[in-house]
Symmetry: C2
Subunit: 424 residues, 2 copies
């Protein structure tokens, strides 16, 4: 006996229309596999004329409250994004006993506490697989496949736009601006790309991954985020010559009782699985006490990949009538490790004038904070500056930052120092 699950869909944009298309195309195979028949009963969107161009035989409304009042609808899929009105819709829906499936990483990462608490009251369930990693079932792997593990580290390429740009810079020698323009032309970057290139999107995703991995609340505002706008082709080229790739990584590590979490450009060795993730693909690596490393890779965005995650959540929620499973287990707030407690190797790129005595001053500024140099390349004079590329031995990040602050005040410095952490 097939069971019918009626869905209320809020937001018929890129992902919403993907969910519609997926169910239309693969509804039969889903029902064969799970005994569940999915039906979008009502779509809520402000652009009803636009929606009508695509769909038929589905109720349409511009008022989300209609979905809450419909007893037949058991799951509401929220795909409008942003904080409001998404937040109110989700909270009211959970209170009304409707299950919620959402792709809204911003909302959950920045203001998810109340939503997680409501969903933990278990009158309705929350699924948010689509909020991280698009079509890659990474939250499910974390919550369920790896449930028996202590997770020690999560590291991921969590944003396709920036990974596409970095791939172009590395492989084609394009500048950041040229790569961004190409990404925009191909639809991999938005007209206003700030959210992606400054690392905020990756920040939302590593925040959510970390809450699931470490079972602690993570304050999004305390996550250190650095984007890729200051990277230059010389960085990706030099990294490559040293056997490294530059990737924008979201990283969160268990560190004592705290969590060391950040989003920033990182040098990773070319043999590391994350180094070979190219173009718009995403990947997530978990390091776990029982399984060792587990790595997942796929398309991190797009209409149908994200719809695949939405539908998986709808099905999983429908199959689990047992309400004992928590949507997300959070015990208190994570203590966020300060960068002063972080030790690593670093790459420094310094553009200087071409005159004597400079290296001595730079070396002095580094030595002052116990930063010792592992390798140094001085490239040919280029335009109006000499590029100096340092790799340090393991050093304390606060020390490095103090040194950089001082170096930036030297009158022979042509551009603020670029520092990239090396992840070993």
């Amino acid at each position: 006996m097939k069971r019918k699950v009626k869905i209320g869909l809020v937001g018929f944009g890129t992902v919403g229309s993907g969910v519609y298309e997926l169910i239309k195309k693969n509804g039969a195979v889903i029902s064969k596999r799970t005994d569940i028949e999915l039906e979008i009963k009502t779509i809520c969107d402000l652009r009803l004329d636009y929606v009508k161009e695509t769909v038929s035989n589905i109720n349409l409304t511009t008022n989300w409250k209609d979905l809450l009042e419909d007893d037949e609808i058991e799951t509401i899929v929220e795909l409008i994004g942003g904080i409001e009105p998404a937040r109110t819709i989700i909270i009211e829906a959970l209170k009304a006993g409707k299950n919620i499936v959402t792709a809204n990483k911003k909302l959950l990462a920045e203001a998810g506490t109340e939503i997680f608490e409501l969903s933990n009251k278990k009158s309705a369930k929350l699924g948010f697989e689509a909020s991280v990693g698009g079509g890659i079932p990474c939250l499910q792997a974390l919550k369920s496949g790896l449930v028996g593990n202590r997770i020690d580290k999560v590291a991921g390429i969590l944003n396709g736009t920036t990974n596409y740009i970095l791939t172009k810079m590395e492989e084609d020698g394009l500048s950041f601006a040229e790569s961004l323009a190409e990404a925009q032309k191909l639809g991999f970057a938005e007209a206003d790309p700030t959210f992606d290139i400054e690392g905020y999107d990756a920040g939302h995703k590593i925040t959510l991954l970390s809450m699931l991995a470490f079972n602690k609340n993570i304050d999004y505002k305390s996550v250190e985020m650095e984007g890729i706008t200051k990277l230059e082709t010389i960085d990706t080229e030099y990294a490559r010559s040293m056997g490294y790739a530059v990737k924008l990584l979201g990283i969160a590590k268990r560190s004592g009782n705290g969590v060391d979490i950040s989003v920033r450009p990182t040098l990773i060795h070319e043999e590391h699985p994350l180094a070979s993730v190219r173009n718009e693909f995403n990947a997530i690596m978990f390091e776990n006490d029982m399984t060792g490393p587990v790595f997942l890779y796929g398309k991190g965005a797009g209409s149908l990949p994200t719809a695949s995650a939405v539908v998986s959540d709808v099905i999983q929620i429908a199959l689990k009538s047992d309400v004992e499973e928590s949507a997300i287990t959070i015990e208190g707030n994570a203590e966020i490790v300060l960068s002063s407690a972080r030790n690593s190797r670093y790459y420094l790129r310094i553009f200087t004038d071409d005159k004597p005595g400079i290296l001595q001053k730079l070396a002095g500024a580094l030595a002052e904070n116990n930063v010792s140099i592992s390798s140094l390349v001085q490239e040919e004079y280029e335009g109006d500056h000499v590029p100096l590329l340092f790799i340090t031995h393991e050093a304390n990040e606060a020390g490095i930052k103090k040194s950089i602050e001082k170096i930036n005040t030297f009158d022979f410095i042509k551009k603020p120092v670029m520092m990239i952490r090396i992840e070993d």
Copy 2:
């Protein structure tokens, strides 16, 4: 309120002791995440003195029927492997309403029909995540995370022993025999490695993956399997020089109404994610209509990684009180595509005498079956033979095989021709 799940464990070998260790170490964190407390109530093993060295406060028995008669035990974990008595234990347990979690790929792939049918009657559930990919939650990804997709292809490095051997051959230039000896020394290969190196283990795993991916019964005996014993260092070296890696792949593709399934050495391009999977690691790639490629990577064997999969299954079964989910959806038998219907590019390695007219005869034997040559390298005379390395254009596999049959009869041939398929 925590719910206690009592487990009966059959077989306290490598994986069984891993399950014990995992629950001991991470039981508290599991219970925090899921509200389920796992308890191994009884262990069944023939070597009770050995078991007693490790465990205390757990009932011990040598008779598996004791577990079936214990009403408190809700899930039985079968980790003895092989066909009998595992088959009888699982069938009797399912009939008695006990859930079953097993890592027994051989049993399920060769004789799983009755077990799948019983588990589909839904009086008890079956979990077998641990049977494929060790700690990689790949069956869960397939059944649940990708439930909304039509799966078009599954390809995997499914055996750590052979991947370790191939890595040694490729990276260190060792022979097959030397690499095998090293794998045995490090515990990555058994004293009798037949099962791994002939591809049977990978065959079991690709069979199970395919049944889940295509929802058809796959007859294990009809799966074409070729191991790695005939590979030589010249193959891995030449492949590398051409930008390819040699990997033992289990591959299954949807092909019309049928499934094209095989296990064999394959050349894959170095930029393909599967090419960078080194040493004892496993990886599985799904190609899906909605998500595109999804790739999972991790440790495919070992005590704790496999235990992680077992425990994940136990938890998932305990959480899903809804018995509507089928353990495995199978509708009829898959039609297995014959290799005569397969077109691909191929690598051919031919060892010949060093005398005139040979190339003409080889080229003629290939041309007879419409096999045209894309590239050819004749290496220096080596020992007693001249190595000739061909890459063909796309050709029909039956044609290639006919050509090879003929070539093998030529009196100047020093060793049977080695053919490796190129996966593009």
